[in-house]
């Protein structure tokens, strides 16, 4: 197990002023990582909730911890990871040296993690363990273009990787706000079974209400019974948002490992 007794971990989430579930996975992953006692300190901050990103500037100001790893709990690179987080946390690049000598290390968002494809597949399997994957359509749901980020591109990238594995009969991207829309699932698929995994960080309005409404199912009912929704002669297996997977705690930790490995590579090559 890795040990980072000289490092703090700061997980950055989006949060929400209207959705009570938005920050829950980030807080949960932080609690799990804290429990493992890998880092000297583990903290969270949010764009739209407390503590704010600005508050986080205070968390390690005493300088007793030499390095702080910043991991965005975001699905993709984009406006938040490239503009908002660096600005609010006063980050000047991958490594920011504070006047105290402390170094803040800005890692890639969790959605970029190499194991994300495996997590999506595992989530798809867990929600429908008994079915034949070859006779199943797997739909990965992204938000789409209205968000000023690359979440759609990230979802597309995942679908391409899953499709290349030739496990599922069909693997498709669907979106909330751009074609192909979630609501077109019936036209887009031909298989008896359809598995739907939201490529989102948290459950909330989109995964609890918008996507089920576009699919025509009752998500609450589906989750309480565990049985698939039967619609138009098809079985729909609907998962919770990928970001609620407990494995995300490992993903967050591994993003700090990846950062370290990437920073070491150029040095060892020279």
């Amino acid at each position: 197990m890795i040990s980072r007794s000289n490092s703090a971990l700061l997980i950055v989430g989006h949060g929400s002023t209207v959705n009570p579930d938005s920050s829950a996975p980030t807080l949960k992953h932080a609690a799990e990582i804290r429990r493992r006692e890998i880092f000297a300190d583990v903290a969270c901050c949010f764009w739209k909730e407390e503590p704010s990103l600005r508050d986080a500037l205070l968390f390690f100001r005493d300088g007793t911890i030499p390095e702080v790893y910043v991991v965005p709990n975001f699905i993709s690179e984009g406006y938040f990871t490239r503009t908002v987080i660096p600005r609010e946390l006063e980050l000047t690049g991958p490594e920011t040296h504070r006047s105290s000598g402390q170094i803040w290390k800005y890692c890639e968002p969790v959605g970029n993690h190499r194991g994300m494809t495996e997590l999506l597949l595992r989530r798809a399997h867990d929600v429908a363990p008994e079915i034949s994957e070859a006779e199943t359509s797997l739909l990965i749901v992204g938000h789409g273009t209205s968000l000023n980020d690359n979440s759609a591109a990230a979802a597309k990238h995942q679908v391409e990787k899953i499709r290349a594995l030739n496990r599922y009969g069909t693997v498709l991207n669907v979106y909330l706000e751009e074609p192909p829309l979630v609501s077109d699932w019936l036209k887009l698929t031909e298989t008896r079974n359809v598995v739907i995994v939201p490529f989102f960080i948290s459950d909330g309005l989109h995964s609890d209400e918008d996507i089920p409404a576009m699919l025509g199912i009752d998500a609450a009912d589906r989750r309480s019974t565990g049985a698939p929704s039967q619609l138009h002669g098809r079985s729909l297996f609907y998962s919770t948002a990928i970001g609620t997977d407990p494995k995300f705690a490992d993903v967050i930790i591994e993003q700090t490992e990846t950062f370290r490995a990437q920073r070491l590579e150029p040095q060892s090559a020279s």
Partner: protein, 222 residues
């Protein structure tokens, strides 16, 4: 102001008699455990009992009416719960879930490390949809802060930031004690761990944007 430093400071504050934070009352039991309740609930005994640190986030999430609390320092913490915490580490984490980032802010202030940011600077830094917030006029900002941040119904933080780089007061509509860390913002006049506000929160920035936007829409119609 890392977690360990906060924990040590918290022990010191407890010993110094600072056993109130925001709307929370902390009682130190004989076995060394901590009992947390709503300050207005100290006389009641019909509590829903909680014992996990993470329960603090759950308690803090919704008000008495079951409505989501986007601002944790708003004076609408729900009633009727008792959270038992076994040790100081747990107490530190629980309080940080009730009032995120506030222990760090108070400790930073005690150590002379708390930097404040004027409202204008916070607004001018914004991008995207919040860029418009910077257009708020001084008199509008004065009114907005006077209403949104007021302790009775708005927010229990003690404002330390100024309106601008010239040192203009955050709002002339707020009483002098709103800027005094010694003052108990609940009005219960007890010794408290203050909820210091070193910079305008995102909710205030969003309200400033709303005010600018509504003005643009409303004016022609009026």
């Amino acid at each position: 102001m890392n977690g360990l430093a906060q924990k040590i400071a918290l022990a010191k504050w407890m010993v110094a008699g600072l056993r109130r934070i925001g709307q929370i009352s902390i009682t130190v039991r004989k076995d060394g455990a901590f009992s947390l309740t709503h300050r207005e609930d100290t006389a009641r005994d019909d509590f829903t009992a909680y014992s996990a640190v993470e329960d603090a986030a759950e308690i803090a999430r919704f008000d008495d009416a079951g409505k989501y609390r986007p601002l944790k320092t708003a004076p609408n913490l729900r009633h009727g719960w008792q959270l038992m915490i076994g040790d100081l580490s747990g107490l530190r984490l629980a309080l940080d879930l009730f009032y995120p980032g506030r222990l760090a802010a108070f400790l930073a202030e005690e150590n002379g490390l708390l930097e404040t940011t004027p409202l204008r600077e916070s607004l001018e830094r914004q991008s995207g949809m919040y860029r418009a917030a910077a257009k708020i006029r001084d008199e509008e900002a004065d009114k907005l802060v006077g209403n949104f941040c007021r302790s009775d119904g708005g927010c229990l933080r003690t404002i330390l930031w100024k309106r601008d780089g010239e040192g203009a007061i955050a709002s002339t509509q707020l009483p002098p004690e709103k800027f005094d860390p010694q003052h108990d913002q609940t009005g219960l006049a007890e010794a408290v761990v203050p909820l210091l506000c070193q910079e305008a929160c995102n909710l205030l920035v969003a309200e400033a944007r709303k005010m600018v936007k509504s003005e643009g829409v409303a004016s022609p119609a009026e």
